[in-house]
Symmetry: D2
Subunit: 261 residues, 4 copies
């Protein structure tokens, strides 16, 4: 069985905007799902905002190894309860790949703890993504840099924590730079933020971008059993301590009582 990936898309602009429709006639999610399935080791399905529970029921997330997230206009419509669920699954070990305007998604802001703000410009300018460590699994098959003839500018400062690793940094024609590929570890889960992907340009049809997406899914996949109780704070009573222990001093909790949350 392959890596079970779910490509989530808010799927709004493709239904409202003619330009976007021409670039992604059946939705960004389907283009990405086809791209990451192309080499046979990843089994990609899709989910959208409009589906019941945004297509992300607990049962489905429990069987998802890596989730990809594309959103832009409708971040505010994503149900907080679903965001809780996704965040918990990342802590348990599910991989998460956040794409482009997903920098302002609820789930990314939750996982980063920072504003995730940036500067932007939509002028179809040239972008060049430089590879920082060419032997990083996410950069496999990329030769020095990726050239995008038309891209939306995302510029620093990008308000995220220092990453685990800086995989790509972008140069923009209009004079800005951006850390366009960043990895994070949160609990047992791996996160990759990847900046390219504006919906009016055919960026997800680009072969190098598709290579990065496949690499990222493989990198984010954690084969370990999900860490289901990762958010629990269990009491370890004194008589089960690994070292012999005689209780001393005053106590707030009665023996066996649960902690506060």
């Amino acid at each position: 069985m392959g890596i079970r990936a779910v490509v989530w898309n808010e799927f709004v602009h493709e239904q409202e905007n003619e330009i976007v429709q021409k670039v992604y006639p059946d939705g960004i999610h389907r283009t990405i799902a086809r791209a990451i399935s192309a080499e046979g080791d990843i089994e990609a399905t899709t989910a959208t905002l409009q589906e019941a529970e945004h297509g992300l029921t607990q049962a489905r997330l429990d069987e998802t190894d890596v989730l990809l997230w594309w959103g832009h206009k409708a971040h505010g419509q994503v149900d907080d309860a679903i965001v809780d669920r996704v965040q918990q699954r990342v802590a348990e070990g599910m991989g998460l790949i956040v794409l482009h305007s997903g920098h302002f998604s609820k789930i990314f802001k939750r996982l980063m703890g920072t504003p995730c703000s940036l500067r932007w410009r939509e002028a179809g300018e040239r972008e060049r993504l430089w590879v920082i460590n060419r032997n990083h699994p996410i950069a496999k098959g990329i030769d020095t840099a990726i050239e995008l003839p038309n891209s939306e500018m995302y510029g620093e400062p990008f308000l995220v924590p220092e990453p685990l690793e800086t995989v790509f940094i972008s140069w923009f024609e209009g004079g800005e730079v951006f850390r366009s590929g960043l990895t994070y570890q949160r609990g047992a889960g791996r996160i990759f933020y990847f900046e390219p992907g504006h919906e009016t340009y055919p960026i997800y049809h680009d072969a190098a971008i598709q290579t990065v997406l496949r690499n990222a899914v493989r990198w984010a996949y954690n084969p370990a059993e999900p860490w289901r109780d990762v958010s629990e704070a269990p009491n370890r009573p004194y008589d089960q301590a690994r070292e012999k222990l005689t209780p001393k001093g005053a106590s707030l909790h009665k023996k066996g009582e649960a902690g506060y949350r």
Copy 2:
């Protein structure tokens, strides 16, 4: 003018529990405020859950350099709007010191993005906090280790991101270890998590612990002007680009339009 610190406390156990009352007769917040004010360079005031807006109005937070946070039983009663406000101020540059059971506070979980879970035991056992970098500003005046004769055990795994710096690691009599002093940078704000502080033991009366608290306030203080628009994502139109730019390709946004959030 000194560093303006606010010590926040949920102030519940001191009013309900006789043991805690004896240790902190006028509340943990007042003990800590006195301790950090003792050398004259820090001006500490207090705030509690019971006050209007939990004592943390926008005006007050705007004049706070460093906030200290103690909570345990009443995390759930803290208003989400106040948590938003504190999180924004940290991004702008306010320092934050999270104490003991504050690991499960809304604000700490928000800023970390992880479950912040751990293992615990209330048996009055011995704890020893080893200093990792004795020349770190937070460890100033601490000689090798801090010994606490009675402490609540907090044990690994502690579900937080890898820190900027590991300042203390604790040894517990019952056999556990814990990363008991950790620093983080989130936006323009510095964060220090400090593990000791169970309310049934006189830990905040300990001279070494008080030294660490004063050091931490000084370390977390950022004298720069607050970064008020840190969460904004301003458009940088093509005709204001630093390099001459001719717009190309299709556009989603009209000129001057705000981005989506």
Copy 3:
């Protein structure tokens, strides 16, 4: 073909000291090589200080995916030219696992840039290695903690840079703690430092320790082509720039001239 691992050992104490001889009659290197080969996916060979070029010729290192390093008494006898060679191979992508007293090896100090000092005691005391992220590939198959009935104490402060990830932290019977499993990325190479392994105790015969060693070899293995010119600083002349460029200003170097080193 499996992962090509080389276990390097200074192989001194096993030939001089009766106690060590009993624990490792044919050398620590052979015990470790057998352990990591046990599941068939790793092909381990050995090398020792006494061999020509310490068994680490350029040709052999070029065919090594992961190097394990055990040294203690004879760090000073390791040829600097061989250390250069190993360091270059790590930068190119070879994995390196540094064991126990290897903290003071030339190669580890080179790669860390810090003193790598620590506190120590040889009293056969109990050590317990707590797993920080149980879903980390290096912790696979380890349940919460590893118990070692007899170990040499290594205590903080351990003078190394903040790691990429803290995988294990140890508790010692005599009251100390130690970050006993740490990962680093240096160039294209991954490094794992693993603290247990004193030669008078049968630690490398322990099943859990052997599991960690196998996991670590798999984790450190980088399947990418070696980055042979990783240490070069090539000139990128203006007429080969990705953006059209007209040279301006004064010049130190003539066109085509190599840079200084």
Copy 4:
């Protein structure tokens, strides 16, 4: 007394090359020393390669709070014993600021453990250093970005470890990017690498660059007592353990014996 800074320069090109002589008639070191002394809180002196012990005797280093390092053509002429000495002082808490072509200095490569290689081009092109965290002490007084009309291009990949903090990232006219301001902690010492500074351009005469240099000296200054024995690995005999301990098992070392190095 102010912060005691020493500006070290190999001082070769200024004596050999007419262009450089015009830009820095009395040497880069003197220009930098004047610049960082300008606000009165830093007392800067200079040292050069040609002096006895390169001007860096043990006595002088012992009284240096922050060392700035500029070298280019003569890295290989720097005595290894002096490099050892500087490295030890950084571990003890001395700040170090490595400038421009100092990326290939012995001391920087030692402290990083990586090749410190990069791509370069001398075409007098435009460079723009974007500030990543505008409230970082090193960026104080810098407004969004620094513009340099003529600069040498340094391009990624830059083979250094992930930094503590990314303070500046540069955009180059010819299409490259570079992490041009990076901080590191090594032992008790703070390190800042700052990329601008090619000797044929008047970069150290630029007001914004001088501001960054002053900020960096203040940031790197550690007021704590030097950690003189930071490289020692002292034995902690069982009868001085913080917890009562009865020695068990076999022993390699006799009581009181020093460890191996």
